[in-house]
């Protein structure tokens, strides 16, 4: 019993993490307070990091936790605490609830059925021991250097746009 459990520990943990990530994602729709929604999203992201680690893509697991949880969600939590707008009276959902649910069911049903029917088998065998960051880095710098530079341009544009937004808000305060 214990031996069988230990032999299948990887798939067991994968299923457990997937279930917990799904529960966190569903809680995001149901919960009312933005802070609780943020906590549900953080738990989903951490479980996704666990899934990436189990798949053998360790550096993406690390970056998932570092960038998403450590940077993006901490920023989001700060903003929620900074705004501190208490709105527990109004309705939780907008008037688009019924079309939204219909679209959700249609999208999930269509793609889910096509996944359930089976995927084409890949011709290439899986690499032993997962990815190494060395292989990834060599591919990244040799083959995708242009995209890498374009992301830096995108980040500069984002910084300039954020500064422009701050300028607009200052002008709005003065005028």
């Amino acid at each position: 019993m214990i031996d069988a459990l230990l032999a299948n520990l990887d798939s067991l943990l994968l299923g457990l993490f997937a279930f917990c990530a799904l529960v966190g994602a569903a809680l995001m729709i149901v919960l009312r307070q933005p802070m609780r929604v943020a906590m549900a999203l953080i738990s989903t992201m951490v479980f996704l990091g666990g899934i990436y680690g189990l798949l053998g893509v360790h550096f993406i697991a690390a970056f998932q936790v570092l960038i998403y949880v450590g940077a993006v969600m901490v920023f989001m939590v700060y903003v929620i605490m900074l705004l501190e707008v208490r709105e527990s009276f109004g309705p939780r959902y907008s008037g688009l609830l019924v079309p939204g649910v219909i679209g959700f069911v249609l999208l999930l049903g269509t793609v889910g059925i096509s996944i359930w029917r089976g995927l084409p088998k890949s011709a290439v065998a899986q690499p032993e021991g997962g990815y190494s960051i060395g292989k990834f880095a060599i591919t990244f710098v040799n083959q995708y250097w242009l995209q890498f530079e374009l992301t830096s341009v995108l980040l500069v544009a984002a910084v300039v746009a954020a500064l422009a937004i701050i300028k607009v808000s200052r002008r709005g305060l003065n005028g």
Binding site: A25, M28, V57, Q147, L155
Partner: protein, 100 residues
């Protein structure tokens, strides 16, 4: 059901739940977080396909998605702050007079 199918099903479920949240929720910050959930679903599918086909292209795309998500949040949060300072609420229905 094998591992790839389960992970792709999870990715689709997360993307659909994020889309549902963007459509039905009224709080602007919650909508932003649901967009992050959609990006996470896409990331999971990219990693799963990259794992299945044993290429590094998926991992490169995941990195680009990370960058785009960070830039998106860095731009969206100041806009939300400005809107809240102007309207004193996070409710989306108060922003219906926005034009453009």
């Amino acid at each position: 059901m094998d591992k790839t199918q389960m992970l792709l099903g999870l990715a689709v479920a997360m993307f659909s739940l994020g889309l549902l949240g963007v459509i039905v929720r009224r709080n602007v910050l919650v909508m932003l977080m649901c967009m992050e959930l959609m990006l996470n679903g896409v990331n999971l599918s990219l990693v799963t396909f990259a794992q299945q086909t044993a290429t590094t292209t998926g991992a490169v795309l995941v990195f680009l998605v990370f960058v785009v998500a960070t830039a998106e949040i860095a731009l969206a949060i100041p806009i939300v702050l400005l809107l809240v300072r102007d309207k004193r609420t996070l409710d989306l229905d108060a922003y219906t007079d926005l034009k453009g």
